[in-house]
Symmetry: C2
Subunit: 171 residues, 2 copies
């Protein structure tokens, strides 16, 4: 019994290492191929990689195509679900606010990362700046944000309709 | 001269109203069609709508397919650019952290919204919860986050390589 537990733990740790290594390997490979920034991500379910993602902002003209968002899209497509129940995300760098938001919406079990947001800031990525912006009220954002108060009522009507919608699918 | 300024302002305000109304109209229409949650967005350049987006999380199994992210992807595809320079975003609801992150990466001129994050929370959307999570250190997130310290060095090596990469495209 103890031996089998030891074996399980050993095998878990070996896979664990393999997954974060794979995320880092993708970050290098795709950067060298010119896909985008140096970021890679893998999503694991039942001890196997079900999706890989990498930054492809500049090669696909999609500012949302970060490694984590790309991997989440791919994994969800494979699982035929908008939820990553039972999945673990391995990413080469701590997620930016956009990716962190996507992770919260996808609801995986846990997230492992190697580099930090500060590391990303040091090589010119705005993650840390955006995190700072998010601490502020929107009136102080560097991109001007305005509520169109005259249309708040109209907007709220649709929210009321959502509440009353009987066949709605929550997410 | 004064008359023409007045005319310009009047026409600007009429369009302004039209754009936020259109975002709200999309939020209702797509909700009723079963695409996803009650959220719509339009992106405007040179006083014309260049892209429309709506929540399509549950119909496309993509947790990142919120109205703003969908509209940004569409607009960038159209502009053949990963930047929304000179564009204005009109969205039926204040963006969630994921969409706010995407907006920061896309760098539009400004953002107009109708409903608030609190309004969204009241009808069951996690925006406000995720904003609260983002205020915490990652060790306190409800989804467990861990840095794999043993592989930080390996991750940083790739960041160094990015710094030294001569043909990199910043974004």
């Amino acid at each position: 019994m103890i031996e089998s537990k030891k074996y399980w733990y050993h095998s878990f740790m070996e896979n664990h290492k393999k997954f974060i290594q794979r995320a880092i390997e993708i970050s290098r490979q795709k950067m060298n191929e010119g896909a985008g920034g140096p970021f890679g991500c893998v999503i694991v379910k039942d001890n196997a990689i079900i999706a890989e993602g990498w930054n492809q902002v500049t090669s696909t003209n999609d500012p949302s195509a970060h490694a984590e968002v790309s991997a989440i899209r791919e994994a969800c497509k494979k699982l035929n679900s908008f939820q990553l129940t039972g999945c673990t995300i391995y990413t080469s760098c701590y997620p930016c606010p956009m990716c962190l938001g996507a992770i919260y919406w996808a609801r995986p079990e846990s997230v492992y990362f190697a580099n930090t947001a500060q590391d990303a800031a040091k090589i010119g990525f705005d993650d840390a700046f955006i995190y700072e912006e998010l601490q502020k009220p929107f009136e102080k954002f560097s991109i001007p944000f305005h509520q169109v108060v005259a249309f708040h009522k109209d907007g709220l009507k649709v929210f009321k309709e959502w509440e009353q919608k009987e066949d709605k699918m929550r997410y």
